[in-house]
Symmetry: C2
Subunit: 220 residues, 2 copies
Amino acid sequence: MTTEPAEPYGPTPRTKPTRSPERARYDRPTVHAILDSAYLCHLGYLREGAPVVLPTLYARRGETLYVHGSTGSRPLRSARQGPGLAVCLTVTHVDGLVLARSAFHHSINYRSVVVQGTARQVTDEDERRTALDAIVNQVVAGRAADSRPANAKELAATAVLRLDLDEVSAKLRTGGPNDEPEDLALPYWSGVVPVRQTYGTPEPAADLAPSIPLPEYLSR
Amino acid sequence: MTTEPAEPYGPTPRTKPTRSPERARYDRPTVHAILDSAYLCHLGYLREGAPVVLPTLYARRGETLYVHGSTGSRPLRSARQGPGLAVCLTVTHVDGLVLARSAFHHSINYRSVVVQGTARQVTDEDERRTALDAIVNQVVAGRAADSRPANAKELAATAVLRLDLDEVSAKLRTGGPNDEPEDLALPYWSGVVPVRQTYGTPEPAADLAPSIPLPEYLSR
């Protein structure tokens, strides 16, 4: 896992010619699959010329990502004005800890997507509502329809930004450790510890009426 | 979870006067605990004036964070020159999905740390070795001593950056949904779905000698 540049979304999948199991991918199915199986991104933008990276929720619809926030927050105020807000939106899944015989070849298995571009405020009311529903559904599929929709006051307090999937790349590492041939006989355990995000038993709110059952979409 | 500015590390803990369960924290024990229970960060910096956010491994030692990468990678080349590289390093744990009766109050429980500052290349050989060991140990405590240390060629190919914990803040949300009083009687399930990162059974490398047992530090 190293710090390498993102490349533009291209129609032709390209693969880095390397023996490393770390690969860049540009095809849409890979990019979409990584984005669709997460809900948290890290959003980077500039504040007074310096980079800022904050965790936030997002949703994908087609070739567009949406994020939301308070209308009073600084980046969202910036996106409303002028040419929009230059951002980088990154999503990362950790799939495994890769323990090689050598310290140097330690790594992690992961899947990440990096999207660069200009975020613009969404002003169309239908698109705003659709985007906000999508953000709720990205966290729990089916939840938006089973909650109270935003009212006028809530909608007025919420800014929605859109970022098109133009300049985007996926990067992933899979498989076992990549040890040097001369290290294979060393007496160190080598392999992968699988990592995943798991969900515990849903905990009802303290003030939830006992008559309300756990919804179907949470029984996963 | 909204996009709010980070504030400088201060000697006095401050708490935002709000009924929201989302809180900013600046005390060292909170910051250290969040940093010490993760190993992946999202590192933001500028490339040709635009923000870039990439996932990378890190380690904390005292009031300093370390990241590493190939000496040929662009951000690491930049950090070597002139005044260093302006970065923002963010670490986020997701602890729960917060389902409120209203779409608007959906959120997630999380703990995050945002560090802003200037990353500088580490040139001292002892500090470089210590930092690289720390990055391995941040992923799996105790692993660095049970692997082959980097040789001269590997050390020469690896750049190490340090970022001091000066301008840093933690932000976290805990607890149940924050519904409006008038929404409490709505017929929607409300509560929290706990989320955590879990580790599967370690998978030995295909070429691992059967005589090498699973180390003690992986039997967690």
